[in-house]
């Protein structure tokens, strides 16, 4: 740590003092102090734990108050092996505090910790490592190193977490160990538990933040674990990944104008759109090589987004800065809701008199930045109330803010100027002074039009005492003396009179005014100027004396004066550029948002620069974990499915420790990236799209949660848990049941558009389970429109479908006219690509558009297939291993016979029954509508209500989801 030298100075200072010197009570009662400590020593030496505890408590209280207790070290350290855990812990507290000062004695305790490292109790192992690594004694560095290495392979993730924490401790104690420590970091980075992730990334950031290469292989895992990591770890990981992404991915805003179109349309390129225009556009875009986001870049954006809902402001800020630095411009808007950054939230920044000053100043800054032609009058009105505030610093800041608005927005410049001029008659001098300064800057922009204001200000010089304001007025008069030819010499006369009593900045401006007047109107002011220059010549301040000498040489022609004299007028009365009124917060954008360095606008120790985007993307395959995990081809749906399947194969998904499972699937809805970035998307559109993404992953999440629970329980008691489990499962999914389970015999209707939201138009749909004749790869969706309004609905049709890549839609023919009170039924086809992603589109009438979405239960993605018993067995044989999912279940009370089972299964999924010889087995077969993959389901019943469900399907996501749905249906 680079800063450690600075800080050891301080520490050294305190350590070198006599020990008793710390105690403010020392001196007179110095000896009694020692007596008291003798008591404590006695107590510590006793055999009674209660006495030892009492003594330790008193010692810790002393430490807490900052009193020195170092003389007790020998007495305390003896108790390091005390059986009483609280005594032991307090001894640890003491040791860590004083070990540095009493190195030799501290070494006595080391063997205890070494024993502790081998303890069967993980808490003891962990705390032994914590203390050992906190003892800042260089001699034990090798012991620490060994302990850390061992702990990094400990069975307990808690101990491994402690090892991660110990790494920066050792690094700051002995930077020489860096290489070895990096090895440990590398090992721990590969850890799959959420508990370790945050801590090891913290260690990475402290020890080797530049070793980006260590992250590659762990990148996807970190993204996926993120949501389950504790809040503090989330912040550290997100900040690190922000930097990582800036080195590995391309700037999504590199070609902004192009992006807006391409992201919209390039992804619909696979749609079978008939539209010629679109096709043409797509091809031209392809020629221009549109930017395509790396899927891993997208993964990061997607997996951090839900964290915007965190209760922890630091997490929210971390995500916000990540979006700010990494997201395409169009998507940055999502952070606005959580942060309230943009215009619609203008009023959230209105200031209350009770706000702390720093909040007031920040809000003012935000309001100023948000000001534009449209809202300026509202904002100005708001600013005016601030001018009457009792907080004078804030009033001054408000006046400056008005000035900035006036410079930025030409339309209101005159209004602001007039307002500020009125403030000149305010009784508060500070208000007046600040106004003068701002007016001066504003006038500089267009002085010709405002000679009356300059006159007004010239009059003010008699009353205003604030030096800065006086100086500003004098400068103004001098600069625009031609506009006030009569007043200017008179002001100089007054100033000459008061010269000796003025502040230095005012004196300098008086000299300045005198010089300018001398150059333009020497007849009237020659004597005055000389008088002023003479006063200045004998001033106490050498700056003023210097200035006087310099000006005299410049303006008064003598034989000695050089060539410059000729140009004096040009020098003094040159046209000066109008000042830019700048935000005090500018200049800091090169710092990572939300960092300490950004806040202070100065680089803090340990700050890692946010690198610029690379020109060309580094090899994305470095992040591939498995060999077969090829670089996914983004535009094709098939690759998407591949990825899904791989996810299921990922080792940590079924990690035996059961705490590492990603809560969100790595790639759910990956194809949605383009549509999500559309900036023109209206609110409800994006909402429905989101819910589509989330529902799917949410199901997976629950799936997993069950898994986790299950695993945990199996660890404890393996038998007798089955019943409970299914009860739990049943409980968790109650909400789903309502949606997905069709009442036997009838087909479930789903609501597409509620009567109220549809303004009288109610739309329901169902999966009719009929083949969709125009395209056999599509699922038939029957839609029923009911017109409850009292007018006709015309031109009902679909527009603007927003689909995952690969998905297709076959619209129904436009319904020309639908009379009041009548219902019309149509059928449309959707190729869901065998996924439960929703199809989003707009339902349009002649007057209105509604955003709607259709999301299929997994059971509706298949169509019945007829198989013989032999064929079934043969096909099942081909779909073993990873493609087979087995679940045990307890049949619900009503599942009394085969008939009910068949009814429930077929209600859940569109499958047909396969004949079967055994009455203990029911078999069903079907194939997925889109790609025709076989789906085989077997339910084997056992005595006493138990049963086993087997699903064989090449598409494992479909299989997993189907198992879940059927389990639900059967265990009811």
């Amino acid at each position: 740590m680079s800063a450690s030298s600075a800080f050891s100075d301080e520490k050294g200072g305190s350590a070198s003092e006599p020990e008793y010197g710390h105690d403010p009570a020392s001196g007179g009662i110095f000896s009694s102090d020692y007596k008291r400590h003798d008591d404590l020593k006695e107590m510590l030496d006793s055999n009674k734990d209660s006495l030892k505890l009492e003594a330790m408590k008193r010692i810790v209280a002393m430490i807490a108050r900052g009193k020195n207790a170092s003389d007790l070290f020998p007495a305390v350290v003896k108790n390091v092996a005390c059986k009483n855990i609280e005594v032991k812990k307090l001894v640890y507290v003491y040791l860590v505090r004083y070990a540095e000062e009493q190195q030799d004695l501290a070494l006595l305790s080391i063997s205890t910790f070494q024993r502790g490292l081998k303890d069967p109790n993980q808490l003891i192992r962990a705390s032994a490592l914590r203390v050992l690594s906190s003892i800042r004694v260089t001699i034990i560095v090798p012991i620490m190193m060994l302990a850390i290495k061992e702990a990094a392979s400990d069975m307990s993730p808690y101990v491994r977490k402690t090892a991660a924490h110990a790494i920066p401790k050792l690094h700051s104690l002995d930077p020489e160990q860096k290489d070895q420590l990096i090895e440990v970091i590398e090992k721990l980075l590969a850890d799959k538990t959420t508990l370790v992730a945050g801590s090891v990334v913290m260690a990475f950031e402290e020890v080797c933040p530049d070793r980006i290469d260590l992250i590659h292989k762990n990148y996807r895992k970190l993204c996926n674990l993120l949501i389950d990591v504790e809040e503090w770890g989330q912040v550290v990981i997100i900040n690190m990944l922000t930097r990582y992404a800036r080195t590995q991915f391309l700037n999504p805003n590199v070609n902004e104008s192009l992006l807006e179109e391409s992201s919209e349309k390039a992804f619909y390129a696979s749609d079978d759109e008939e539209d010629e225009d679109k096709k043409a556009e797509v091809t031209t875009l392809e020629k221009r090589k549109p930017y395509v986001m790396d899927p891993d870049h997208r993964l990061l954006l997607r997996n951090t987004k839900p964290l915007l809902q965190s209760r922890n402001a630091a997490v929210v800020m971390a995500v916000a800065q990540l979006y700010f630095h990494l997201a395409p411009k169009a998507e940055v808007g999502i952070i606005a809701k959580a942060l309230g950054m943009f215009e619609p939230y203008l009023k959230s920044f209105y200031i209350r008199s009770t706000d702390p000053t720093q909040i007031k100043i920040l809000k003012l800054e935000v309001l100023t930045n948000l000001a534009n032609e449209a809202n300026i009058s509202t904002i100005l009105r708001e600013f005016q109330t601030y001018i009457k505030s009792m907080d004078k610093d804030f009033v001054a800041a408000s006046i400056q803010a008005i000035g900035r608005c006036a410079t930025n927005i030409g339309e209101v410049r005159d209004t602001c100027l007039n307002g500020l001029v009125q403030l000149l008659s305010n009784r508060d001098e500070l208000v007046v002074a600040e106004s003068v300064v701002v007016i001066k800057k504003l006038l500089q922009m267009q002085p010709e039009q405002h000679s009356d204001i300059i006159k007004h200000m010239a009059k003010l010089i008699d009353n205003i005492q604030v030096p800065m304001a006086r100086a500003s007025i004098l400068w103004l008069i001098g600069e625009y003396c031609e506009h006030v030819p009569k007043i200017a010499p008179d002001v100089l006369r007054k100033m000459a009179k008061s010269f000796t009593n003025e502040e230095d900045i005012v004196k300098l401006q008086i000299i300045n005014l005198a010089a300018k007047l001398y150059l333009t109107n020497s007849k009237q002011t020659k004597l005055l100027t000389q008088y002023v220059l003479n006063l200045a010549k004998y001033d106490q301040n050498y700056d003023i004396r210097d200035r006087a000498r310099f000006i005299r040489q410049l303006i008064v022609p003598t034989d000695k004066s050089g060539a410059l004299n000729k140009y004096a007028k040009k020098l003094f009365l040159a046209l000066k550029p109008a000042p830019v009124l700048e935000s005090p917060f500018k200049d800091r954008d090169h710092f990572q948002l939300g960092s300490l360095s950004h806040l202070l606008n100065a680089k803090a120790a340990g700050y890692q620069e946010l690198p610029d985007w690379p020109e060309s993307a580094p090899d994305p395959s470095v992040r591939n974990v498995e060999v077969k995990d090829s670089i996914p081809d983004w535009s094709k749906c098939s690759s998407r499915k591949d990825r899904k399947e791989k996810k299921v194969e990922k080792p940590f998904y079924s990690d035996s420790e059961g705490e590492s499972g990603p809560t969100e699937s790595a790639d759910s809805g990956n194809c949605g990236e383009s549509s999500a970035s559309g900036s023109d998307e209206s609110g409800s559109g994006s909402e429905s799209e989101e819910s589509r993404e989330e529902t799917e992953s949410e199901e997976e999440e629950e799936d997993e949660e069950e898994e986790k629970k299950k695993r945990k329980k199996l660890d404890k008691t393996k038998a007798k848990k089955q019943a409970e489990e299914s009860a739990e499962r049943c409980a968790i999914h109650t909400i789903h049941q309502i949606r997905t389970i069709a009442p036997s015999g009838s087909i479930k209707m789903y609501e597409l558009l509620h009567r109220i939201t549809g303004e009288g138009l109610a739309v329901e749909y169902c999966f009719s389970r009929q083949p969709f004749s125009p395209d056999p790869n599509m699922v038939a969706v029957q839609i029923q429109f009911t017109n409850n309004t009292n007018s006709e609905t015309k031109n009902l049709h679909i527009e603007d479908p927003r689909l995952q890549s690969g998905m297709r839609i076959r619209e129904f023919a436009e319904i020309g006219l639908q009379p009041t009170g009548e219902s019309v039924t149509v059928v449309m086809g959707i190729d869901f690509c065998d996924s439960t992603q929703a199809a989003n589109f707009q339902l349009c009438t002649h007057t209105r558009k509604f955003f709607v979405s259709i999301q299929p239960p997994v059971g509706e993605l298949m169509t019945p297939t007829f198989l013989t018993e032999n064929n079934f067995k043969k096909e099942q044989g081909k779909l073993m291993g990873m493609n087979e999912i087995l679940e045990k279940l307890t049949l619900g009370e009503k599942c009394v016979n085969e008939h009910v089972i068949v009814e429930r299964v077929t209600a859940t999924a569109n499958l047909s029954r396969v004949p079967c010889g055994s009455d203990k087995e029911c078999r069903f077969a079907g194939k997925t509508v889109s790609s025709g993959c076989l789906v085989l389901v077997t339910v084997t019943t056992k005595e006493g209500g138990g049963a086993q469900l087997t699903v064989n399907c090449e598409k494992m996501v479909i299989g997993t989801m189907l198992v879940k749905d059927i389990l639900q249906a059967l265990s009811q």
């Binding site: 800080f7 630091a314 009457k388 300490l596 803090a604 705490e659 809560t663």
Partner: protein, 428 residues
């Protein structure tokens, strides 16, 4: 990350220090004291103070400054959030977070701080985990401990640490299983002189006290979830279920916790429960002024407004107030220039009124700055946004819990401006 922590009271006494790395001399706090002096009001102390070798990041809570010492780059919010978590933990353990309770429980405080950070990086901040490591003090326990010599410190790793639900400990058992939820809404508003809303929004939280045995899985649903705009959740809440179904599904921590907080933005119409008619004027001559404030109900949804307090920050030149109140008591503090009128319950039949004269510093000109008026109030059994809990379902356990929901509305930062927009007339 976080090097050291100093606790400093309002009088400037440093009463606790804790170091997670090498010891940093408490003299570093001199920079803080300097800033504290400059700020006048404790709230105005800058949260981040730069010193030659360190950065001091501080929060002010319960009349205590929590001053942390930082040496290297760290997101300031990270530290600020952590300091708040420390204060909340103290509150959770000792019932309140005050100088007295911290001093009385200094050993437990120290043990807690030791567990919450390791080498300056948060280790255990979940209340449920901490409570297994260090048991909160109770009178009974401390008596038993004194007699038996047993300790307050847990000997095994808290169950939550290793599970994927770290916020809940395993093996929770209650004889009475109960779950209570408090929906607390605060109205943040700025009203102009005439009482028209300039800006209003609602900040809501749902505080929970859940004492349920085993591993209950709860689902809380609302009658009108669409009201909720910007929501933040306790980590136990499943984001996805909220996104897709607008229900709060969670396995709760044991005990008290904040389930969620939400924000109902200015875009929705926010009901303002009371109106304040006020007239505060200062005379050009005579060094005096007049004050007349009347309060009445506006949109109270038929509920009673309680704990009504009106606070007026007077200009500096106001020396004293000679007023009479038809209800409640008033007090003018000539040092802080705060007029406080404690009204109590608002009776719609007999509206409270406060009027009388103000005396100003003699010879001082009529003050130009305007007083501001802050309102505090409470309405029981009402969530002003109209938010209603629909039902609470429990899965995963077989017993029948006792459930309860309470609503309360309070005034948050509720301010009426007394200024008029006279200065600049802008064309709209």
């Amino acid at each position: 990350m976080i090097h050291s922590l100093f606790l400093i009271n309002n009088a400037g006494d440093l009463f606790l220090e804790k170091h997670w790395k090498s010891v940093i001399s408490r003299s570093v706090c001199d920079y803080f004291f300097e800033a504290r002096e400059k700020a006048v009001e404790p709230d105005n102390v800058p949260p981040v103070i730069r010193t030659p070798h360190h950065y001091l990041i501080n929060i002010y809570r319960e009349k205590i400054f929590f001053v942390s010492v930082i040496q290297t780059e760290v997101p300031p919010l990270f530290v600020i959030e952590f300091l708040h978590r420390v204060a909340e933990t103290f509150q959770d353990y000792f019932g309140e977070c005050s100088e007295t309770t911290i001093k009385d429980n200094v050993v437990i405080v120290y043990e807690l701080l030791e567990e919450m950070l390791d080498n300056g990086f948060p280790l255990a901040t979940e209340s449920n985990i901490l409570k297994e490591l260090i048991r909160p003090p109770t009178i009974l326990r401390s008596m038993v401990n004194t007699i038996t010599g047993s300790s307050n410190v847990g000997e095994t790793l808290p169950t939550g640490q290793l599970s994927n639900i770290p916020w809940r400990r395993a093996g929770v058992k209650y004889t009475n299983n109960e779950a209570y939820f408090d929906v607390v809404e605060e109205i943040d508003a700025i009203l102009d002189k005439s009482g028209t809303t300039v800006f209003a929004e609602i900040q809501g939280v749902i505080d929970a006290c859940v004492k349920l045995s085993g591993m209950p899985d709860l689902t809380l649903s609302f009658m009108n979830p669409r009201l909720l705009d910007d929501v933040s959740f306790h980590p136990c809440v499943r984001y996805k279920r909220w996104e897709s179904e607008r229900v709060i599904s969670f396995i709760p921590p044991d005990g008290n916790f904040q389930l969620m907080s939400y924000h109902i933005s200015a875009q929705n119409l926010v009901a303002i429960p009371i109106y304040v008619k006020q007239n505060i004027s200062f005379f050009e001559t005579g060094s005096s002024g007049r004050l007349d404030i009347a309060v009445g109900p506006k949109q109270t949804m038929g509920k009673t407004v309680e704990c009504l307090v009106v606070t007026v920050h007077m200009p500096k030149v106001v020396l004293s107030a000679n007023l009479s109140a038809t209800q409640g008591t008033y007090n003018y503090d000539p040092v802080t220039k705060i007029l406080l009128w404690d009204i109590g319950k608002l009776n719609p039949q007999k509206l409270p009124n406060l009027k009388g004269s103000l005396s100003l510093q003699s010879g001082a000109p009529k003050p130009e700055e305007n007083p501001s008026l802050n309102i505090d109030l409470k309405i029981q059994q009402l969530a002003i946004s109209g938010l209603k809990v629909n039902r609470l379902d429990m899965y995963g356990e077989k017993y029948k819990p006792f459930k309860g929901v309470k609503y309360v509305t309070k005034a948050g930062k509720f301010q009426q401006r007394l200024s008029e927009w006279l200065l600049v007339h802008t064309e709209v």
